[in-house]
């Protein structure tokens, strides 16, 4: 039986594919399901399977040839079968298509199933109810049941989603409008690949310091200024999603969750482990996790998943006595905050000279994503929250 091998739609958006390699050659025996070629799609290199048994009689599209979806790339048939009718139909694809005259009735190969959508969450009815009652985001939970079904045990110990509305889906891609494209192009031309600008603010850390001291009397887990800063920035980002974003050349990806990069100096360099869903974690959890991450970073034990995928980053040189500095953005993130030392300073408050603990924050912004006022409003929230640390739980 003759089986026409055609370019299949190997991704949902694929319109054409380029044959990279033929794994089978003319004269090779093939069975249905064999990988006969590798095809480059718009997304990845995929495998093309044989849909019938026989001998690969003719390769129509050689390696490197680009073929439209649905067009002939090869013919599988019995060794002695007459394929002239099909072969005539299968001129090289770059040619003008010839009318399909006297084509033998060959059944079209089955269209492959479209790639399964990943958006549907499989969960038991009980798990769904528990998630609803406890405000858990099922999207962020890995299921341990058959086929990844989320079951009761997967929800035990799960934490509530901070912001349900934005948590669903994780992020939102917003296409660039013409103005944004122009801003991007011009700013990139003016100051390098990532057009930085910088915003600095001084924060009164007196109340944060008191809160920290109080928490540390509990004795369970020491909380550092950096932990408080990470936690506050995560919360502030949830209120200023415009700053929790990636520049992706043709679009901006706005995230509904905060994955906080935390720059850690290591022996001969720097790495940025990521605290996932930092906006959903307690100060204590942040403290535990940031220490563990820093430790693993210094021991060079971080896995790639642990240092990629941040939506925003924080770099702290306060421990080196640096009062303020500018940090370089880690693309595709759109911003990073540089944290200086907490130092005692003489400041005027209500007309009186007072000694207060103060700290300077400098935010580097990617101007293609964040405009001046946008960044300033975000930084204002960070400052307000640090000066009223109870805002963490607000």
């Amino acid at each position: 039986m003759i089986t026409k091998v055609v370019m299949e739609a190997l991704s949902p958006t694929m319109e054409e594919g380029r044959v990279i390699t033929w794994h089978k050659h003319e004269g090779d025996a093939v069975s249905a399901g064999d990988i006969i070629a590798e095809v480059e799609t718009d997304k990845a290199v995929m495998e093309l399977q044989a849909r019938g048994d026989g001998v690969l009689r003719k390769v129509v599209a050689g390696e490197g040839t680009t073929v439209e979806v649905g067009k002939l790339v090869a013919i599988i048939a019995d060794a002695d079968e007459d394929i002239s009718g099909v072969a005539a139909d299968g001129k090289p694809p770059s040619d003008v298509p010839t009318p399909a005259a006297a084509t033998p009735a060959v059944p079209a190969p089955p269209t492959p199933e479209p790639a399964a959508t990943t958006s549907r969450v499989k969960a038991s009815p009980l798990a769904r109810r528990m998630a609803q009652e406890r405000n858990l985001d099922l999207q962020s939970i890995a299921g341990s049941g058959p086929g990844g079904r989320i079951v009761k045990r997967d929800l035990e110990g799960a934490r509530p989603a901070a912001a349900r509305a934005v948590a669903a889906g994780g992020y939102e891609d917003v296409p660039l409008n013409q103005m944004r494209k122009t801003i991007a192009k011009r700013l990139s031309q003016s100051i390098g690949p990532v057009p930085h600008f910088f915003l600095t603010t001084e924060v009164d850390m007196e109340r944060a310091a008191e809160a920290r001291e109080d928490l540390n009397t509990l004795g369970e887990q020491r909380i550092s200024f950096n932990d408080i800063i990470l936690r506050v920035i995560a919360s502030a980002l949830m209120r200023h999603r415009a700053c929790n974003a990636w520049w992706m050349d043709d679009r901006i990806r706005y995230f509904g969750e905060v994955h906080m990069g935390m720059a850690v100096a290591v022996e001969d360099g720097l790495i940025t482990p990521v605290i996932r869903n930092a906006h959903m974690k307690t100060l204590r959890e942040i403290a535990v996790e940031s220490r563990a991450m820093a430790e693993r970073a210094r021991e060079r034990k971080l896995t790639p998943e642990e240092y990629t995928g941040a939506t925003f980053s924080v770099s702290n040189l306060g421990m080196f006595g640096i009062d303020e500095f500018t940090a370089v953005i880690n693309p595709p993130e759109a911003g990073i905050i540089a944290v200086g030392a907490v130092t005692e300073k003489a400041v005027m408050r209500d007309g009186e000279l007072e000694v207060r603990r103060r700290m300077r924050l400098t935010m580097s912004c990617d101007h293609r994503v964040i405009d001046g006022a946008t960044g300033a409003q975000f930084l204002q929230t960070v400052r307000t929250m640090l000066e009223n640390p109870l805002a963490i739980v607000w």
């Binding site: 009815p125 009980l126 769904r128 109810r129 341990s144 079951v151 009761k152």
Partner: protein
């Protein structure tokens, strides 16, 4: 309280009710002189005489019909079928007469008859004599269907069935007659339509009835000892009306359910339980319900095949592990 057999518990119920109410009488093949094929009616002919313990010809349709007529005329007959396999010959009287008269007479003619006898498989009685018909009768509006698992329940449920004004199909376990349990000598009844929790547990609910209760209990014991799984065993006791409340309350606690029955899977008792549970307790389910049933074949005569065709503790354990996501 004495420890007696299921057979003797039934005998006590018959004797008690015949003493209590002169309208109660027993009729069937070999119930009198031979004292019952399974000796359930032992001593009753001697005690009550041949007007109240009546031996019949081998004619199930006929004596079932006599029973329905007697009930319509005001008596409370107990019709014994030597087994429910033979009752197939009488099913027209059970389904078309007993179950319908009260309805078709506009409530004027109740039919307080009990049809009773052993059901299910025994050992190597082959395809025609190894059948569990609970679901057949439970399908019929107008019938109550009772299937006790223990001597205590057998006595209490039979007394309630005899006193009930509706036709009751009372299916005993052929392999249960010799099983023993504690049974009070005096008066007590077990209400129809009320399931019983035979073992409390927290992880999985196993719904069962009749002979499969002991299968479930054996499985529960091993699950607890060997796998640290806590199983709640719910004995339906009455198939119709089904005690949906007890089942759903248990599943609300355990979130998982396995249903065990001796009958065939298609349209079985468990299918009805699944229907009720998915509707009434959907949000409490953490796994699909799984049924352990008799194999979907005529019962094989071969000993090994017969064993393979019946529910057993291993099958129940496998199902429990599956709904508890332990595999």
């Amino acid at each position: 309280m004495g420890v007696i057999t299921y057979r003797d518990a039934l005998n006590q119920a018959l004797r008690d009710e015949m003493e209590r109410d002169p309208d109660v009488f027993l009729m069937g093949e070999e119930v009198g002189v031979y004292q019952g094929a399974y000796k359930v009616s032992r001593g009753l002919l001697e005690a009550f005489g041949d007007r109240r313990v009546v031996d019949t010809p081998i004619a199930e349709l006929g004596f079932a019909g006599v029973g329905v007529g007697a009930a319509m005329a005001g008596l409370r007959p107990i019709i014994e079928f030597m087994t429910w396999n033979f009752a197939l010959l009488a099913i027209d009287q059970v389904v078309n007469s007993a179950a319908k008269m009260y309805y078709m007479s506009g409530g004027q003619v109740p039919v307080p008859v009990v049809f009773r006898g052993p059901g299910g498989s025994a050992l190597q009685l082959a395809a025609q004599h190894s059948q569990a018909f609970e679901s057949w009768y439970a399908h019929i509006p107008g019938l109550k269907v009772v299937a006790p698992a223990t001597p205590y329940d057998a006595k209490g449920l039979l007394k309630s069935s005899i006193r009930n004004n509706n036709p009751v199909v009372f299916i005993e376990g052929e392999m249960l007659y010799n099983t023993k349990g504690e049974v009070p000598e005096g008066e007590y009844t077990v209400p129809l339509g009320k399931a019983d929790i035979k073992r409390e547990g927290t992880d999985v609910t196993v719904v069962c009835h009749s002979k499969t209760v002991s299968v479930a209990l054996k499985a529960a014991e091993r699950l607890a000892e060997e796998m640290d799984v806590s199983t709640e065993v719910v004995d339906l006791r009455t198939i119709r009306p089904l005690d949906v409340d007890t089942i759903t309350q248990s599943i609300t606690k355990t979130n998982r359910c396995v249903i065990v029955e001796e009958g065939w899977p298609f349209c079985g008792v468990g299918a009805q339980v699944v229907d009720d549970v998915q509707r009434l307790a959907f949000d409490h389910l953490d796994a699909p319900l799984i049924r352990v049933t008799g194999a979907d074949v005529p019962m094989p005569y071969n000993k090994h095949l017969e064993r393979a065709a019946k529910p057993n503790p291993d099958k129940v354990i496998a199902a429990v592990r599956q709904v508890a996501y332990l595999d």
